[in-house]
């Protein structure tokens, strides 16, 4: 570890930082433009070419605005919450590989800030920490709407984290590793050859249900429409950040959009081969192409996020909870079991035993499923409707 190593590490970290920050600015601009197109409008188009500088102007405005804080806040928590959100959003993408490997002065440089062997667990851990930013913000604001928004969002995030964790677990079982670089490498072996083109074994093919669950939960985790109930403006003003203004609001805003990019990047890493793609051309192009592929793949997912927002109305809260707990969670559980079974079956030497155990398990499960209605005590339902109460309004005396 000498000076060059340190410099390279810094350069890679800065590269990721720049990619995500510029990406966030572009995402905010792109979202406004694309949504506008979907609504036969134009969107911001006046500042800079195609209005590209609009986000910069908005950001500058936010940072120079008067810093307003309500009187009955818990000051320490109130000021800390935006930092929690922003910091968590900024460190989450550290484990995501955003480019290929190339040589700089005889050293191998991988465009990934940090490649721990717990890898994707870092993502889960940090996205769970993000709840604190939101909930503390809602609680410390000292008013009703932010509190309701905070409660809603923590309930939503915790519910959907379960299904998200399960979908990731299925991928980890399948890939046999948690390390992001390993997961990406696993997806580069060709699934089958189609003439000269080798179709890579992207996890989206064998792990399609896990991908669907992960996609839906990541929309909920980033609190994007149609799951943006924590900031349902018709009901909660602006949700947890109602009482925030200026730079503190900007941090929440930044964190929100940065999380969208991070989750898109996680999807690309886990299911779509990360920065891999066909390499060609001279050396510098080969070094650059993975980053281009990565940005293109992430860009497609960002578009889908925006597309969802342009198309779907906001869900009702009970339906959101139903989807999380009654559909995605059982589906995730089932898929983890199925993946585990498949992996064990593939690796074990005594496949007959595995199949027999699985058969017994499936039989017991089926029995339990059939017996459950008999065993569970049914809630008593009164068949007689409540009699209409006599009208209590004053009637003229006779």
């Amino acid at each position: 570890m000498d000076l060059v190593d340190v410099a390279i590490t810094f350069a890679v970290a800065l590269g990721a930082f720049a990619l995500w920050l510029v990406g966030t600015a572009l995402l905010i601009w792109g979202e406004r433009r694309v949504i506008a197109l979907m609504q036969t409008r134009v969107g911001p188009n006046r500042l800079g070419p195609f209005g590209l500088l609009q986000t910069v102007a908005d950001g500058a405005k936010l940072f120079f605005k008067e810093d307003i804080a309500p009187r009955n806040i818990d000051r320490f928590v109130y000021l800390g919450a935006p930092f929690v959100s922003a910091t968590v959003a900024l460190v989450t993408f550290a484990v995501i590989p955003y480019g290929g490997t190339f040589q700089v002065s005889g050293r191998e440089v991988t465009l990934q800030v940090w490649d721990p062997n717990i890898g994707m667990l870092w993502i889960l851990a940090m996205s769970s920490l993000g709840v604190y930013g939101i909930f503390l913000a809602g609680w410390s604001s000292g008013s009703k709407y932010p509190l309701l928004g905070g409660v809603r969002s923590s309930a939503q995030l915790i519910s959907y984290e379960l299904a998200m964790g399960l979908s990731l677990a299925a991928v980890f079982i399948y890939a046999g590793t948690l390390q992001a670089s390993q997961i990406v490498a696993n997806q580069q072996i060709p699934l089958f050859e189609l003439g000269p083109i080798a179709v890579p074994a992207w996890h989206v093919v064998p792990m399609l249900p896990a991908f669907v669950i992960f996609f839906l939960t990541s929309v909920a985790e980033t609190q994007r429409p149609p799951f943006d109930l924590p900031e349902a403006e018709g009901e909660l003003v602006a949700g947890f950040h109602t009482e925030y203004s200026g730079a503190k609001f900007a941090m929440f805003f930044l964190a929100e959009f940065m999380n969208v990019i991070t989750f898109s990047a996680v999807m690309v890493t886990l299911f779509f081969g990360g920065p891999s793609g066909p390499l060609f051309g001279p050396g510098w192009l080969q070094a650059l192409l993975p980053t281009v592929y990565f940005i293109a793949k992430v860009g497609i997912f960002l578009f889908v996020f925006i597309w969802l927002r342009g198309t779907l109305p906001r869900m009702r809260y009970d339906r959101l909870m139903d989807l999380g707990w009654k559909v995605l969670l059982p589906l995730g559980l089932f898929w983890v079991l199925a993946t585990g079974f498949a992996v064990v079956l593939r690796t074990s030497t005594d496949q007959g035993t595995v199949l027999r155990i699985a058969g017994v398990g499936a039989g017991v499960a089926l029995l339990l499923y059939l017996a459950a209605p008999l065993l569970a005590r049914r809630p008593r339902r009164d068949t007689q409707p409540e009699p209409e109460p006599e009208p209590k309004f004053p009637t003229p005396s006779r």
């Binding site: 694309v34 506008a36 197109l37 979907m38 609504q39 036969t40 409008r41 134009v42 597309w307 342009g310 198309t311 779907l312």
Partner: protein, 212 residues
């Protein structure tokens, strides 16, 4: 379910390639409807005389109390309108005006009409109270700015209230005057505006103006 998803997402996707309904407003301005209620204008006859006779009917009609008019008498030497009186002061407060057009309906001489101009914004109250100078239509080509003398006016021999010298009300504010076209019916009785029929000035303001 999948058909519904296809329909919904297809709709938004297809809409992306449809032209935007937005007008690039400050760069491109859309033509307004012919009877659009824009800011007011005080029209003139083609010889330059003002149509306003200072009757204050517009001010009385105004539901928002946005118009202030003060009339004064014409004199044989200083004639501003073909009538007996003219509006010596005329103000419209655009902070109050609701652009209902009742003043236009009230005006007996078609002096007050509305233009197509809608860009009415300002930084101060004063800026948005329009005075007579701002509201008066530009002089038609070749016309003499009032006051005219009665001799001049009689020499022209116009029966103003029968449509002589009438002009199409100004629509676009800064457009050049088209002139000429007679006004249709609806104007009050013709009065002989010939010399000597106007009463001598009695209003103190009037005397002061004449003395100047």
């Amino acid at each position: 379910m999948f058909n519904a998803l296809r329909k919904g997402f297809g709709l938004t996707f297809r809409t992306m390639f449809r032209p935007a309904a937005t007008t690039q407003y400050p760069d491109v301005k859309r033509e307004v409807q012919p009877r659009f209620h824009g800011r007011h204008v005080l029209n003139r006859y083609s010889d330059g005389l003002e149509k306003c006779v200072g009757c204050e009917l517009c001010a009385w009609a105004c539901p928002a109390d946005a118009i202030y008019v003060r009339g004064a008498d014409n004199t044989p030497d200083e004639r501003f309108s073909p009538g007996e009186r003219f509006g010596i002061d005329y103000q419209i407060n655009y902070l109050r005006c609701i652009f209902c057009g009742l003043c236009i309906e009230a005006c007996p001489t078609r002096a007050l009409t509305m233009t197509h101009e809608y860009e009415l914004s300002g930084d101060s109250r004063e800026e948005l109270i329009f005075t007579k100078e701002q509201l008066l239509a530009p002089l038609p080509a070749g016309a003499k700015p009032p006051p005219h003398t009665d001799t001049e006016v009689v020499a022209r021999g116009f029966a103003y209230y029968e449509g002589d010298a009438a002009q199409e009300p100004t629509r676009g504010w800064r457009t050049t005057d088209q002139g000429g076209q007679a006004q249709s019916s609806g104007d009050p009785v013709t009065v002989d505006i010939g010399g000597g029929r106007t009463e001598p000035p009695s209003h103190p303001e009037h005397a002061q103006r004449n003395g100047r």
